[in-house]
Amino acid sequence: MSSLKPREFADQAIRRLNEMSDEEVRRKLGERCPELLEAEPTAMPADAMVPERQREKVPAKKAEVAKATLIGLKAALPVPAAAAKAKGKGGAGSSPQSPLAGIKMKCKGKKPAGFKRKAVGRPRRRRLR
């Protein structure tokens, strides 16, 4: 029956993988599954997390805050308290303490822990009489 010793063979395959250069791995992948190399890379630059439309319109300082928020770096955020107080008009991020103060949260993505999104843009359902 089977003479293969799976552990030894797996060790060998893993060792071989570690020895291979990046170039060699890419070449082998290209031979076996070329569609993988044509796909988008998984690691996205931080810029890509902010929608293009917003990237253009939002002033630099706000864009920075939005970017940092979206990638979950809550601790690193500056809190523009005074500006937020002046501009905060209710809804998500209106609290002067909030790191999201003054920023329209329209982009999808990961929100910081504790962030509650308020439903907007849809009228409440009227009660039937």
Binding site: M1, S2, S3, L4, P6, R7, F9, A10, Q12, A13, I14, R16, L17, N18, D22, V25, R26, K28, L29, R32, C33, E35, L36, L37, A39, E40, P41, T42, A43
Partner: protein, 132 residues
């Protein structure tokens, strides 16, 4: 029966089914815990390396087992001497009845990478012709 259905679906009138004795020599046996555990270990290393390169892992879509195939091919080709045959079970089709864990098209599949392992190759008659 399953083989005939597959052959007809894929090749129509031209499909044939062959039978053979397969010697399970240098077999990566995924019906055995040793085989599955080691393959899992190889997958961890494989996915880590691809992640480092920024290359996405392939995905299994329906009956196209792209991810499993990529990992098994890697295991089979990079070990020395190379794996010559792989045996695994597949669950396909519908449950036999509601709540059942038996599946209509469940089967064990052998992927023979070295035809020297085949013996007594012969053609299987079409069961539909035999009935008529």
């Amino acid at each position: 029966m399953h083989a005939w259905e597959w052959a007809r679906k894929k090749y129509g009138e031209q499909g044939v089914v062959l039978k053979a004795e397969v010697r399970l020599s240098d077999c990566l046996d995924l019906l055995d815990l040793n085989g599955t555990r080691e393959l899992k270990r190889v997958f961890a290393a494989f996915s880590e390396r691809l992640k480092g390169l920024g290359v996405p892992l392939p995905a299994n879509k329906g009956k196209n087992h792209g991810l499993d195939r990529a990992v098994i091919n890697f295991f089979a080709e990079e070990s020395q001497p190379a794996v010559r045959v792989i045996r695994a079970a597949f669950i396909e089709g519908e449950r036999l009845w509601e709540g059942s864990d038996l599946w209509e098209e469940a089967h064990v599949q052998l992927a023979v990478r070295d035809i020297a392992l085949l013996r007594n190759l012969a053609r299987v008659e079409d069961p539909e012709n035999e009935l008529s």
